[in-house]
């Protein structure tokens, strides 16, 4: 396996409030890595740091070996990093199709994920294609936000809390769809609070606590070792 993305001791702050204190992690091509931790430990900030939305003030971000620290978000997107934000950020007044079209034109990365292909993965979106994004249900918006990032044909997908606020049935089908993406060879970094969703998918896991990595290892270890799990993640 070859290293796709590498974070080397990154420190990130919002203004004067420090959030990340030296996070290092590595993601290899084809892997599904999950970023675990309670609310507010820095999972979203880690993703925002990778994407260049909140660049780290210290440490390095490397993409395929190249130092890309401090790159603009649009450059990261065009390099092949797709960000699916936790709050979905659908363009509410644009239709479903327009949301996808804007994303495709923005990333300028032609590939297998065309609008037709994402409609095949999420058939519901085809039915809704003329509806404004703002009127979709939570689950539909979650599909749209993933689909919107997919049409940019990313090599790495940053999925921030995809199951949050969704009904269990919806989470179930979402899980199946993300599994399909993984099976097709997409590299995924998944941030989650809940273990069920993430451990069902992940090969490896990093657990964050107060802005730094407290555990890293195979996901199976967290699945089996209850004591470790409770220690790191219990509320």
């Amino acid at each position: 396996m070859t290293g796709l993305l590498e974070l080397d001791d990154i420190h990130t702050a919002y203004g004067t409030s420090l959030v990340l204190f030296g996070v290092s992690l590595e993601i290899c091509r084809g892997e599904c890595v999950c970023l675990l931790g309670r609310n507010g430990v820095g999972k979203t900030t880690t993703m925002r740091s990778i994407m260049g939305l909140t660049p780290p003030y210290k440490g390095r971000v490397r993409w395929k070996g190249e130092d890309v620290t401090g790159s603009h978000p649009h450059r990261m997107a065009r390099r092949g990093i797709g960000f699916v934000p936790e709050d979905r950020r659908i363009f509410s007044e644009l239709s479903v199709w327009e949301n996808l079209d804007v994303a495709q034109r923005s990333a300028k990365r032609p590939g297998p994920w065309t609008i037709e292909a994402v409609y095949a993965l999420f058939p519901k979106l085809r039915e809704l294609s003329k509806r404004p994004g703002g009127v979709l249900s939570g689950g539909e918006q979650q599909m749209l936000t993933i689909a919107r990032t997919l049409v940019g044909n990313p090599e790495l997908l940053l999925l921030d809390e995809p199951s949050e606020g969704l009904a269990p049935v919806v989470v179930e089908s979402l899980l199946a769809q993300v599994k399909r993406l993984k099976a097709e060879g997409l590299t995924i970094l998944l941030a989650e609070q809940g273990l069920d969703f993430s451990l069902a998918l992940a090969d490896r896991a990093y657990v964050l606590q107060k802005g730094s990595v407290r555990f890293s290892g195979p996901a199976g270890e967290l699945r089996e070792n209850v004591e470790l799990r409770d220690n790191l993640l219990a509320l």
Binding site: F83, F91, L94, V102, R105, A107
Partner: protein, 297 residues
């Protein structure tokens, strides 16, 4: 008041209201577009209109063969102002996007003062006028009312701008990106759009419209210092009535304001400006986000 019973008179006022509305729309649409996408209130937008007028007057005077030269100078004025707008955005405005609103207001107001003095240095303080282009100096009679031909041309150009703006925003890929930028610029950037170059393009397009309207108004009104501030006040009334950031709102606001000016002068001769301000105050009380705007979240 009795004049209102005369249909010819009413049509005449309607005509003058529509002409005013077109110029207001050309100006205010740029202001509204800039606010909708860049989230900046650009006081200097009226200055770009004034500079457009001066350049059109200056170029017309230099070019031989009036008639062709007028339209050529309109184009020159609009393009020069568009480039000027792009320079202002790239070199100055981009440093104030993250500042607080009152800072941005002061900043663009400073630009108003700078441009106004620069215009006085370059073109003097006396009033200049441009005569109507060849072939368009006369008038056409429609339904018992004489319409100056030039105003009909303005009507055609104005309607074309409305249609082109609507089509480009709603029926083109770039327009969809612009609408997305107005809704969530950070997300759009994370999807791969270079939002900062989009801003420059938007500012350039809005400046083009300002320069265009400044150039087109020269045969109707004289080119004088102070026309910048006068138009920006009108344009703000329009966008407040119609709703900042909304294209149809800007069109509606322009028409309403144009009509209030045209008919207000008959109904309450001394208070037509007051009527416009009263209307604006009323809109602000009932729908603070304008007739067709939407509340800012």
């Amino acid at each position: 008041m009795l004049e209102l019973l005369d249909s010819g008179f009413v049509l005449g006022q309607l005509r003058s209201g529509v002409t005013t509305a077109i110029f207001l729309f050309l100006i205010a649409s740029g202001l509204s577009l800039i606010f909708g996408v860049l989230r900046i209130i650009n006081f200097a937008h009226g200055s770009l209109y004034m500079i457009g007028a001066y350049i059109a007057w200056d170029t017309t005077a230099r070019l031989p063969g009036y008639g062709v030269s007028f339209w050529a100078s309109v184009l020159v004025a609009a393009c020069v102002v568009a480039v000027l707008g792009a320079v202002v955005e790239r070199c100055l405005l981009r440093f104030v996007y993250r500042r607080e609103e009152h800072y941005q207001l002061l900043f663009t107001y400073a630009l108003v003062l700078i441009f106004s003095d620069a215009a006085k240095i370059l073109w003097g303080t006396e009033a200049h006028s441009v005569s109507r282009p060849h072939g368009l100096a006369g008038s056409v009679e429609l339904g018992g009312v004489r319409f100056p031909t030039y105003e009909l041309v303005i009507l055609a150009i104005g309607s074309m701008v409305v249609i082109v703006l609507w089509l480009s925003l709603n029926r083109t890929g770039y327009g969809r990106i612009i609408r997305a930028a107005a809704l969530d610029r950070e997300m759009l950037g994370a999807l791969g759009t270079d939002v900062s170059s989009l801003y420059t393009t938007m500012f350039m397009a809005a400046s083009f419209l300002a320069g265009l309207s400044g150039a087109l108004i020269t045969p109707i009104r004289s080119v004088v210092p102070g026309m910048d501030v006068e138009i920006i006040v009108d344009a703000f009334i329009v966008v407040v009535i119609g709703g900042l950031g909304s294209l149809w709102g800007t069109l509606l606001g322009s028409l309403v304001y144009g009509m209030v000016l045209a008919f207000g002068i008959v109904i309450f001769p001394r208070f037509s400006i007051f009527a416009a301000f009263a209307l604006m105050a009323l809109v602000l009380i009932i729908r603070p986000w304008g007739l067709l705007g939407r509340p800012i979240r």
